[in-house]
Symmetry: C2
Subunit: 342 residues, 2 copies
């Protein structure tokens, strides 16, 4: 069994407090002589402080929880969640913190999740894209635990989001300038803030430019390639199919590409497709996917920075929301509208 400060104290015939002070350069000075001998004995006994005991008295665990939108099997498999988690991990590492990942076989009910989060294992929480239907953010906010939200907006919690609207507008501007007038949209589950924002921007663009919108040109996916297939198929099989489709994320775009190939629709000659996120596999699709890039690393850095501030200053940062710019990345899935010479 590991040695404790008591063992060291006993060995040297001094008190535990002196040992603690010596080890931590504690709030009270310790004679150099004593300090040396304490460190010596500590090494000798292979002393390692029990971090649980330490955390209990300091109230710090040097750990933050990262909570994906849903705690369920396979959640980490989404490239977006994965990329975000990686970025958070990197950002958190800069501050010397570890990450606690909640896992659960059964979809965990929100209340239990929160109980678990607030029971002392973490100093703070990063919520990734919490669903609008989730009770989690509200429960956390009520208890005043340091928490930052990525890719969603929650009343009373600081958040970092991508500028969805500007991204959608940039993509549609490019397409419009290249002759496209019939736009389709395959969205994501409306419980996601990003999915709502992107759809809203899409509709707004059409209105502002007095462009037509047919019922089949809008479909709801589920942020997966498979979930985009039905909607994309209906869209491309309709009597007057769109010449450009915006996807709510890159996986959805992959599904659209798949359907296009299956139907013999050539991308980008007959159809332009634009994704969202620019997760690594956007470049590996064929044709390489044009997409709207979210600055995930930057978002993670900012979110973690805000969280650290809250944890250290012990009060919620005043700035409530930060919106980071997106960027249109043009690759091979976009081209001028069919029938245009240029």
């Amino acid at each position: 069994m590991p040695a404790t400060i008591r063992d060291i104290a006993k060995r040297l015939g001094i008190s535990v407090s002196t040992v603690s002070y010596a080890l931590n350069g504690g709030p009270r000075p310790v004679p150099e002589e004593v300090r040396r001998r304490v460190l010596e004995v500590a090494r000798e006994l292979d002393y390692r402080p029990n971090r649980l005991a330490r955390s209990m008295v300091t109230g710090k665990t040097e750990t933050i929880a990262v909570v994906p939108p849903m705690v369920t099997r396979n959640m980490l498999r989404s490239p977006y969640i994965h990329a975000t988690l990686s970025s958070i991990a990197d950002a958190v590492g800069e501050h010397g913190y570890d990450i606690l990942l909640h896992t659960s076989a059964a979809p965990m009910d929100d209340v239990r999740l929160v109980q678990s989060l607030l029971s002392g294992k973490v100093d703070g929480i990063v919520l990734i894209a919490p669903l609008s239907t989730s009770q989690v953010p509200e429960e956390i906010r009520r208890r005043n635990v340091p928490c930052v939200v990525i890719s969603a907006r929650v009343e009373g919690l600081p958040s970092v989001c991508a500028d969805n609207a500007t991204g959608v507008f940039a993509a549609m501007d490019w397409l419009y300038a290249h002759g496209h007038r019939r736009f389709g949209f395959v969205g994501g589950p409306p419980a996601f803030y990003d999915a709502r924002q992107r759809l809203l921007a899409f509709r707004r663009y059409l209105e502002e430019h007095r462009l037509p919108l047919r019922g089949e040109w809008i479909a709801e996916g589920d942020f997966t390639a498979a979930g985009a297939v039905a909607g994309a198929r209906a869209m491309l099989n309709s009597p007057e199919p769109p010449t450009a489709i915006l996807a709510a994320n890159d996986e959805t775009a992959a599904g659209i590409l798949q359907v296009a190939q299956e139907l013999g629709v050539c991308v980008p000659t007959d159809l332009s497709v634009v994704g969202f996120d620019d997760t690594p596999f956007a470049q590996m699709l064929s044709p390489r996917l044009s997409t709207i890039r979210q600055p995930l690393e930057q978002m993670a850095v900012e979110a973690v920075g805000m969280l650290m501030t809250w944890i250290e200053q012990r009060e919620c940062p005043v700035e409530e929301e930060r919106k980071l710019p997106t960027e249109l990345v043009l690759r091979e899935s976009t081209a001028p509208a069919p029938g245009l010479s240029s």
Copy 2:
């Protein structure tokens, strides 16, 4: 501040032990009447047990650490690490455990990592593909902490690996049967167990079939697409290039495909390429990548199972190593050797 069992006890005029027994269905029976009132007051005060305090006395944290090969920025970005982590998360969730992920800005030196791991924050450890140069496994083994290794072999620690050799042989058998005689190999860093095993199997196959091997036909990559470029280029530019190349993993294969396209070498007509792992993006490459599938989910389940056994029975499982079968997945990057009619 949160309520404690003491608050509940005081409120009801009973002892803390009774409260604890009532809350946990503790080792000693509690009158139904009392139990009801305890639960009532607990709810009333929004009592949540301090998990740190609980862990300190039970010695369980219900958390396991997952350690990637190197603790450094971007480590989680590898599709293989990511897929493995996801699988472990799912498997661990089945047992009601959480995951602790160590992060670090600076590459953490092994000793500090181990200190951190062994200081009481976790009940067990899963090492993902530890490097042969790492001190971590040995340090852990010495201290007799529950630990399982995935994708490597460590003396004295139970491990779960893929059957690399059989996979390589299956791929080469198929290629051989389809007329290929000149084989190339772009490997991974030899510090990785899997990289060594795959290269070994490759060499052994050539020997057993008395096939030629030229110097340029073997290159060392770094498990990334970019890292495969130089070797693949040299290989394909050599006077007598191989007709089939095995890659140490899917990303390496992606790099080879890239080089082939750049040099105007048509895959699979002129060149067959086989990857390893079957991470999700193998199917998204163009042409869709033939690859040797590792059963990562299964490996994670087995590894976590062994770890749980160790944690619960408090002694290292006798079975030291488990080797899970790989599977050749044929897609579009493989074809009969050029010049063969069939």
